[in-house]
């Protein structure tokens, strides 16, 4: 892999609530290369979305990034002033959200919402901004873009709205796109179309893509590499085929077993017992040990990352299912 577009080292994003400190993201490190798709997988509350917000500088109080280095194209994001970070957002890095019904402002026309995203970063005329907006709509496959520019969000279907959101993210040709479960709220057929478009667009533009999801089947077809998150930490990472084909962490195995298609017909669906632990004052040790069939006394200490399985595959476990041969 050439020099990565984005490097994240030891990112910690904590929420300082009255009840205590919630470690939503706790020592997360990864890197994404140009044109690469990184799948960030985990259950609700595993910190995957918060990792995305941290990168964008959109963590709302009482949350705060307390440690870590975030480097995008050689620029240290944490060293930037608020205004410099604003210049990066939507320009060098863009984010797409889960629910397309909610991400577009209901009372503003599409052209207004697209043009403002261009004018926030470029000193161009309104007319040329509009032309660029139209171009972006064409790129994401929206028919009759001229009419669509004058429409309001409620006149679009869910899939179309997500296309518009993607078009907005692409407007300034960002180096990094963070997609936070952008297909979860859509029909399966629409989901397929959006996935296809995203894959095509990142290949064309060479942007790095972080795809946040809980849906392993989406990741399987899309991602080059996968990071599995649990309780604010990355518990396994590696090439997509390695992690999904030969998982080393019991949690990854559990996730794969929970996919109904991987179960045998007529048998009871398998599930991971128990619930994700509360991130409030999480005790020392492996956070998955309460739910893990392989847990031993050793798991009361925090496991470190160790190499496992395929090339670059790493796992945070004392009892990995596969080790280096």
């Amino acid at each position: 892999m050439a020099a990565p577009v984005l490097t994240v080292e030891g990112l910690r994003t904590h929420f300082f609530t009255k009840a205590g400190v919630v470690k939503a993201v706790d020592d997360v490190s990864f890197a994404v290369g140009r044109g690469e798709v990184l799948g960030l997988v985990g259950e609700s509350g595993s910190g995957k979305s918060m990792t995305g917000y941290s990168l964008m500088g959109l963590v709302d109080p009482p949350g705060r990034i307390v440690a870590g280095r975030l480097v995008l194209d050689g620029i240290d994001l944490r060293a930037l002033s608020a205004e410099e970070l604003r210049q990066m957002r939507g320009n060098r890095m863009a984010m797409i959200f889960q629910d397309p019904m909610m991400t577009l402002n209901p009372v503003l026309r599409i052209d207004v919402q697209m043009i403002e995203a261009i004018l926030a970063h470029d000193r161009v005329s309104r007319a040329s901004a509009r032309a660029r907006a139209r171009e972006a709509l064409v790129k994401v496959g929206i028919p009759s873009p001229d009419e669509r520019l004058d429409a309001y969000p409620h006149q679009f279907s869910g899939g179309m709205r997500q296309r518009v959101a993607i078009a907005i993210a692409l407007l300034n040709s960002p180096d990094l796109i963070i997609a936070d479960e952008p297909t979860t709220a859509l029909d399966v057929t629409i989901q397929g179309q959006i996935l296809y478009e995203m894959q095509k667009l990142t290949r064309e533009t060479g942007a790095a893509l972080i795809w946040i999801t809980h849906d392993l089947s989406v990741i399987a077809g899309l991602a080059d590499r996968v990071c599995v998150m649990y309780a604010g930490r990355i518990v396994e990472e590696g090439g997509c085929e390695d992690v999904l084909g030969r998982p080393a962490h019991p949690y990854t195995q559990g996730l794969l077993d929970s996919v109904p298609a991987n179960n045998e017909r007529g048998q009871r669906l398998r599930q991971i017992p128990g619930m994700t632990p509360s991130l409030l004052e999480l005790p020392e040790g492996c956070p998955f040990r309460e739910r893990c069939g392989y847990a031993t006394a050793a798991c009361d200490a925090s496991p470190g990352m160790r190499a496992a399985g395929g090339p670059g595959q790493q796992v945070r476990c004392f009892h990995p299912l596969i080790t280096l041969f």
Partner: protein, 317 residues
């Protein structure tokens, strides 16, 4: 169509209600008058007829724009009210302006910084605005600014000038403006508190929405996110409330007008009730109802200008 029905029902209710309050003859006629004088007076005012007939006479007149003659002033009731209307309108508009110009920015501030000192102070202040009775605040304003400090006059309108050569208003001269300040502030206080709370609640709710996060993710400046994305959305409920409240400001200017001896419609109404001047009371209430209807209409129009979803629904229906 609906509004016509509302007006009709309202006129019936008011007419019967006012009839039930008391007999104006006892107040209007010299107690020493003899029976013949008395009966002549009753007949002249049309009070000898049964209620339903009086109502029909009134209704016939109302259809031609004649709402009856004042018992006391012996002039058309509607004309009497219309001459007082500019004073009340000026007061109401001034009060509403104060409430809007101060209330929305203060509410925004409190919504953006709910835990800051300023935000908390604004909210505490708005509770005062809600809970202090208007007449008491009016008296206090007079005490402080007129009596103790002597800065502002305490009663009347001051000299008026004609706006567009038609409407007499106070605000065109310094003297008149100084008369307007205290009553307008007094009347504005409650609405100000209401707008602050409404704007704050809307802002806080709006800030949690995904479209605000998405707008920030686009790299928009804070000013644009708040000034366009947030404000456009919270304007919808705010305009509704401003519209409704404007009607009630006109209708309930009575207290303020009484305290500051402001020669508006409210003052006229109180005087008329004291004298049981039935036609004026009836005409006043009908004028107010008409105003409410007109304001609602205007709000509806504004609504569709602000919210594209309403526009679409109308186009379909």
């Amino acid at each position: 169509m609906q509004s016509v029905v509302v007006l009709f029902v309202m006129s019936l209710l008011v007419f019967v209600g006012v009839y039930a309050i008391g007999n104006p003859i006892d107040i209007l006629i010299n107690p020493q008058a003899d029976q013949i004088d008395r009966e002549r007076a009753i007949a002249a005012l049309g009070l000898d007829k049964p209620l339903w007939e009086q109502y029909l006479v009134f209704l016939k007149g109302a259809l031609t724009g004649d709402l009856g003659r004042s018992f006391v002033h012996a002039t058309p009731a509607l004309g009497l009210i219309l001459t007082r209307m500019p004073a009340t309108m000026e007061l109401a508009i001034a009060a509403m302006l104060i409430a809007v110009v101060l209330g929305i920015p203060l509410g925004l501030w409190a919504g953006l910084k709910p835990n800051g000192v300023a935000g908390r102070t604004i909210m505490a202040g708005s509770i005062l605005g809600f809970s202090l009775p208007t007449f008491w605040v009016g008296l206090m304003l007079i005490m402080v600014f007129s009596v103790m400090l002597g800065w502002l006059p305490s009663n009347g309108r001051g000299p008026t000038m004609l706006l567009f050569g038609l409407v007499p208003v106070s605000f065109l001269s310094w003297e008149g403006l100084s008369h307007l300040v205290l009553p307008a502030t007094n009347l504005a206080l409650f609405k100000l508190a209401l707008l602050i709370r409404l704007t704050r609640a809307g802002t806080r709710e709006s800030l949690l929405q995904d479209y605000v996060k998405f707008a920030r993710a686009k790299g928009l400046s804070n000013a644009r996110v708040i000034g366009v994305h947030v404000l456009r959305n919270i304007m919808i409920p705010i305009v509704t409330v401003i519209g409704l409240e404007f009607g009630s400001v006109i209708a309930f200017a009575i207290v303020t007008e009484s305290v500051f001896a402001w020669p508006g419609m409210g003052k006229l109404l109180i005087d008329s009730i004291n004298l049981l001047d039935r036609p004026v009371i009836v005409a006043y209430l009908l004028v107010i109802v008409t105003l409410f209807i007109v304001i609602n209409l205007v709000v509806d129009v504004l609504y569709s200008a602000l919210d594209p979803r309403v526009r679409l629904a109308e186009a379909k229906g």
